[in-house]
């Protein structure tokens, strides 16, 4: 389905977020966020720790229902049609999602079956994906013995088997060495240029966001502090500004009000984990 549809530009954006809000008890993790992400766009989400990036992304992946507001992802509504959204997107969580006690091939097979890849296509699609990700030789080894970079490539391969229109990557390069990071980004770029996939990526590394993302949203305390291309955001701050400067300046603008001590961070994290 995806290969034909990818080349015909959609009239509506791939992702349209409107007034999306999520609270955990007293904490408003995501606060009336509205964004529009175009087809075949690499959209970066940046922001300080605890800004609400992961909460936002988990709502888009339908893992967490919003408190209010909604979003349309790949043409389906995350509140009313979560199962349809799941069928159309790929999601690579920040945490380790490949199963270490299964082999690379078995991990892929599990995903193929869960995502309804037709039986007669499974083997071929899996083998091709493993070759493309440079994992063909390791396919029969337990994922528990993979390096960090191999695991990320396996997870990305797993989430692409059903050819999703939108791929959501939550900190895909965290903990990877520069070589492995580059491999991940090469794949992301290829997915955009060759297959016209839309990608939403979070990262703490301003260099890679600056280099690879078409547009960025800076999220701070649950709100969008700025949206635009890397060049637009940098121009706002100054002629020679880097994305790091943008981050520091726009986030620091609010710094006075927020003195988050250990206690508050702990409370916030526990709330995010336990509420629901």
């Amino acid at each position: 389905m995806s290969d034909q549809s990818a080349h015909t530009p959609l009239a509506e954006p791939a992702v349209a977020i409107s007034e999306l809000t999520r609270t955990f008890g007293d904490l408003t993790a995501v606060d009336h966020v509205s964004l529009s992400i175009g087809t075949a766009e690499i959209f970066g989400i940046i922001g300080p720790n605890g800004a609400g990036k992961s909460t936002l992304i988990r709502m888009l992946a339908t893992l967490l229902p919003p408190t209010s507001g909604t979003a349309s992802v790949a043409g389906c509504d995350i509140v009313r049609q979560p199962a349809e959204v799941r069928r159309r997107i790929g999601y690579v969580p920040q945490l380790l999602s490949a199963d270490g006690s299964l082999t690379g091939y078995e991990n892929m097979l599990l995903s193929a079956r869960l995502y309804g890849v037709p039986r007669h296509e499974r083997k071929e699609r899996i083998e091709r994906a493993l070759i493309r990700m440079g994992l063909a030789d390791a396919a029969k080894h337990l994922a528990g013995h993979y390096s960090g970079g191999m695991l990320r490539r396996l997870e990305i391969a797993q989430s692409l088997l059903h050819r999703p229109a939108v791929l959501i990557l939550d900190e895909p390069t965290v903990g990877l060495d520069p070589g492995a990071r580059e491999t991940v980004w090469d794949r992301v770029i290829e997915l955009r240029d060759r297959f016209h996939r839309t990608m939403i990526v979070t990262s703490h590394l301003m260099d890679e966001i600056n280099e690879f993302c078409d547009r960025i949203a800076l999220i701070d305390r649950g709100r969008t502090a700025a949206v635009g291309t890397p060049a637009e955001l940098k121009a706002k701050v100054g002629p020679d500004a880097t994305l790091n400067d943008v981050f520091i300046q726009l986030v620091a603008a609010n710094e006075g009000e927020r003195e988050r001590g250990y206690g508050e961070v702990r409370r916030a994290r526990r709330a995010i984990r336990d509420h629901g």
Binding site: L63, R80, A83, Y91, L96, L102, R113, L114, R119, L142
Partner: protein, 278 residues
């Protein structure tokens, strides 16, 4: 979950996926989860071997001593025979009741999110996990059978009976592993789970007919035991597994209770499993 008043485009996409295709997907997804668990066992079978120690101890220590006490087992069936069916159910129970801990482990790792982000219905995921607990328990059954034969227990080796035993064990394990999953969804940490798991196994095991008949119990305990699904699992196992075993309630009621309780628990667990990812 579908809400009332869905727009026309939604019902159109639903209609496109025919009912048979949806049923086929459901089956594939359920089996995918179960198959993954079986593959894990294949890669690391040590767990199965260590788990075999407990039934061996029960039959060879407890069983041999209690066999000298007359009048525990009803009718003229030797106590060791009577006990063998109970120990089979017990070893399956112990595998199943700690099953939830792997769900907590998967949640902490992130593997759970892979499952929950997939289009598989939550009930298919829960059912798949439940069936895989049944497969684990079947490997226990093989060990108990071998041991019981060595100890001279009168075992019925008719293939139909063996199939019946396998069915009772799979359903019983699905039941208790789903109960375990529900507890895991509630407590969310391994430490709390371990405490509750220990507290649960004792009453489920002793307030049942696993090692003595309900007729030996004080009235209140006998009443409690009638509400214990393990009682019906053991009852079915006794008549199916043993040459001279008898059922107190009949196989229809035994399997009826097991299937209905399992289905109800899966319904509850499916609702809670999705929230475990929050």
């Amino acid at each position: 979950m579908a809400k009332l008043g869905a727009p026309a485009e939604l019902s159109a996409t639903m209609a496109e996926r025919s009912l048979t295709q949806a049923a086929g997907d459901y089956l594939t997804q359920t089996c995918a989860v179960a198959a993954a668990e079986v593959q894990k066992l294949y890669h690391d079978p040590l767990e199965l071997i260590t788990r075999a120690v407990q039934p061996v101890l029960w039959l060879m220590l407890f069983g041999e001593v209690m066999a000298r006490v007359r009048g525990v087992a009803p009718g003229n069936i030797p106590y060791l025979d009577y006990l063998a069916a109970g120990i089979l159910a017990q070893s399956a129970l112990f595998v199943a009741i700690f099953y939830g801990i792997s769900a907590i482990w998967e949640r902490d790792l992130g593997v759970l999110q892979r499952y929950l982000a997939s289009p598989a219905p939550r009930s298919a995921l829960v059912l798949g996990k439940a069936l895989s607990a049944g497969v684990r328990a079947l490997s226990q059954a093989i060990i108990v059978y071998v041991l019981a034969l060595l100890l001279g227990v009168g075992i019925n080796l008719n293939p139909l009976n063996i199939a019946g035993v396998a069915a009772a064990i799979v359903v019983g394990s699905a039941l208790f592993s789903t109960l375990s999953l529900i507890i895991a969804c509630l407590v969310k940490t391994r430490e709390r789970f371990m405490g509750i798991g220990q507290v649960l196994t004792m009453p489920i095991f002793f307030a049942s007919n696993a090692i003595y008949p309900l007729s030996l119990m004080p009235a209140w305990l006998s009443t409690v035991s009638h509400f214990n699904p393990l009682t019906y699992e053991v009852d079915a196992l006794r008549v199916l597994m043993l040459l001279h075993g008898a059922s107190d309630y009949g196989l229809l009621l035994d399997f009826g209770v097991l299937v209905v309780v399992t289905a109800a628990l899966i319904g509850v667990a499916a609702r809670m499993y999705g929230r475990m990812g929050y």
